[in-house]
Symmetry: C2
Subunit: 428 residues, 2 copies
């Protein structure tokens, strides 16, 4: 395998050889300037976002298949050391790729799979990205794992830090629902409630990341490593399909990082010769109440104007998405599209997925299935092509969204005659 | 491999050859009388409970390891057809066996693993037993999958039936918490609320099972098949330890079926030569507020007197456990014990597991860890022996149990100085 780089950037002092596996440098996605591997996320030249660059060795299918049943089977393709599986982590990933035959029939498509990330340790795809961020933090000598969050990310950071035995700090708006606070606080994280909205929390987190030493804000100063974790969704889809790529993939979009990294993951598999080269159309899904990238896409813009979120799909409610321009690039380049659905459609599609496949998704899953149905109806998704959509989280975390839409079919006294009266009319 | 039976009991008319794989008959656990494989659960002679008997062929580790990453890799050891993996199911099992080093240090034991069944499709071990019951229902031509339940079982039945495309009926007390109703109703099951307590619901379910044709009440008339699903916990533990048995296992006890089937599973692995023969001590865990088997154990009785449950561990709150006598037999025969902990201890141990290993268990997990700690303190569990305990469900389903025990460490305004003031005193 030839190097992807002409020159290697030396790692920072104090970092062990191989700390980032086959990663060799950070590179600015805007201007292409290289930086060393470190706790950096913005280009020194142009303030553009940094991402991880590699010099991959030869990697075989057999090597991957003989690895652990977690994202660490793909360690050679991630910025993690070769001995990563020996460290305590939540070992996320290798979730089910569900052959969704009932849903395919319901939607009128030939072949459809659901990549069901509700099976991760804290029941969302965030376990993947946090596990890689945790490794970077450890290798860089950072000793506090932190994040601003309103839900899934807080759960994942608190759980991963507990398991790894390092301190975590999770910052949330003080008016957050009690149940989301419990589901993070139970891990004994240092949960700090902030009297303010999510934007206030986020701003404070960035200030702390800039001022304090030793802090790894997973989605701020170790974001380039964190984001690489999402590539494992692409790797698993390909491996679980028998080492081949699907024709089209529908991905929920918040910051947009997951979508761009799935595209990057497919490209790396092709470059490494692990799958046959073929085009994969990438589609994005947003809720209408927070669809800044859809608005830019439809206006033909390359940049994304921020919006104020107002949707039940709170895990996708990022009004100023960091990867917005890159999402636009990927969907345009691959022949995909980004579209949105309203909150009522989100709820209907949570129920549709549950009823057809026995998978209870959080609101983001309802967004993604809803957009899949819309793109089929509007002719953007090919019903004869092989399609995968991502379910990124778990319905148990967003029960309120469906609470007023589902319930008992009847209430009866505990008598056999009462049952038979109901059953005969119900099944008539 | 020699047959375990002298004679085979012919399958009922209309059931295809191989419908139950290597299972050959049902046998009464009380009097030993054989019955054919069918929708039977009580002995015709003595009304004793029936269980599945087999004539196993040779089964190899390699054969199992090359199977699907679900309970179906153990299909030859279950009452399911050889082509079971071609049917739509939720494909549960093969959940993580977590090497719990932090918890081991906290408890002062040498080696400890958590078998974490919160990773199943509906986040409890019930997915295992329901998947096997669903197969039996299909092979027997039953077309309604049903259960009385107050939680995990309802979720598992509704999801499995949705995925399989068959009708389901879930019966719950009408005063059940709204969130538990939602988490089942979302699968579009026929959820029937019964104006009565759980005993009333259970009684009505048994009456329907006796009167109506075509109904498979998973935990009533197809219970012998259903219960076999729990053996897969034992199979997975052994395989994940590298095809060997642990020294001692701690198991949550409701009906007691899971505990007896884990013991049966280990015995079958030994008989088949898949693991080396060695004794495994089996320990049971109940909540003090529903500990009828503990009471019988401590009184030296062989039968269990029913109690009225009063505990936050609702998934273990069966006051009249069907497998009570068999649990007593297993724990006495293997040199184990059954013990209980109070509700305050349950909550403390939910937090202890979360804080140490990043695993958020439902109340049953708190019971099991609490009893593990108690048995260590009282000298019944050997701290130098290899120990596994079962986490059977997910903390997201029992948030109320910990709601008043965990929360933010502080609430501050969104200013850096407010943060540093807190942080300096907090870390001083």
């Amino acid at each position: 395998m030839t190097a992807v780089l002409d020159t290697q950037v030396p790692p920072p002092a104090g970092v062990r050889d191989g700390a980032f596996g086959n990663a060799t440098h950070l590179v600015c996605r805007a201007c292409g300037e290289k930086s060393p591997l470190g706790p950096f996320y913005a280009c020194m030249e142009c303030f553009g976002p940094l991402e991880v660059g590699y010099d991959f060795p030869r990697v075989t299918r057999e090597q991957i298949e003989s690895g652990p049943k977690s994202i660490w089977r793909y360690a050679p393709l991630l910025p993690v050391p070769a001995d990563i599986a020996t460290f305590r982590s939540t070992d996320p990933g290798f979730t089910r790729l569900v052959d969704a035959g009932n849903l395919a029939a319901d939607l009128g498509v030939r072949k459809l799979w659901v990549k069901d990330d509700s099976g991760n340790p804290t029941h969302s795809f965030k376990d993947r990205v946090v596990a890689v961020a945790l490794s970077a933090a450890r290798e860089l000598g950072l000793n506090v794992l932190a994040c601003p969050s309103t839900g899934n990310l807080a759960n994942a950071v608190a759980a991963a830090a507990a398991r790894a035995g390092i301190r975590s700090v999770v910052m949330v708006p003080s008016n957050l629902e009690q149940q989301k606070i419990i589901a993070s606080a139970v891990y004994d994280t240092t949960l700090i409630a902030i009297d303010g909205n999510y934007d206030d929390v986020n701003k404070l987190a960035s200030e702390i990341a800039g001022e304090e030493e030793g802090w790894a804000f997973v989605n701020v100063n170790v974001r380039p490593y964190y984001a690489e974790g999402s590539k494992t969704l692409a790797f698993e889809i390909a491996e679980q399909l028998g080492w081949r790529l699907p024709d089209q993939v529908v991905v929920p979009v918040a910051s947009g990082s997951q979508l761009t990294k799935i595209d990057k993951g497919f490209s790396e598999l092709i470059k490494l010769g692990l799958v046959e080269d073929k085009p994969v159309k990438i589609f994005g899904a947003q809720a209408t109440g927070c669809s800044p990238i859809v608005q830019a896409y439809e206006a033909g813009h390359d940049v994304v104007a921020p919006v104020r979120p107002n949707t039940i799909a709170k895990s996708l409610a990022i009004g100023n998405p960091a990867d917005g321009p890159y999402v636009l690039d990927v969907v345009r380049r691959t022949g995909g599209r980004i579209a949105d659905v309203d909150d009522e459609t989100v709820v209907r599609n949570i129920v549709r997925l549950a009823r057809n496949e026995g998978i209870f998704a959080e609101t983001a899953g309802g967004v993604t299935l809803g957009v899949t149905a819309r793109l089929l109806a509007e002719g953007d998704l090919d019903p004869d092509a092989e399609t995968v959509f991502i379910n990124s989280g778990d319905g148990l975390k967003t029960l309120d969204a469906v609470a007023s839409h589902v319930g008992p079919k009847t209430t009866i006294p505990p008598r056999y005659e009462a049952f038979t009266d109901f059953w005969r009319s119900y099944t008539a």
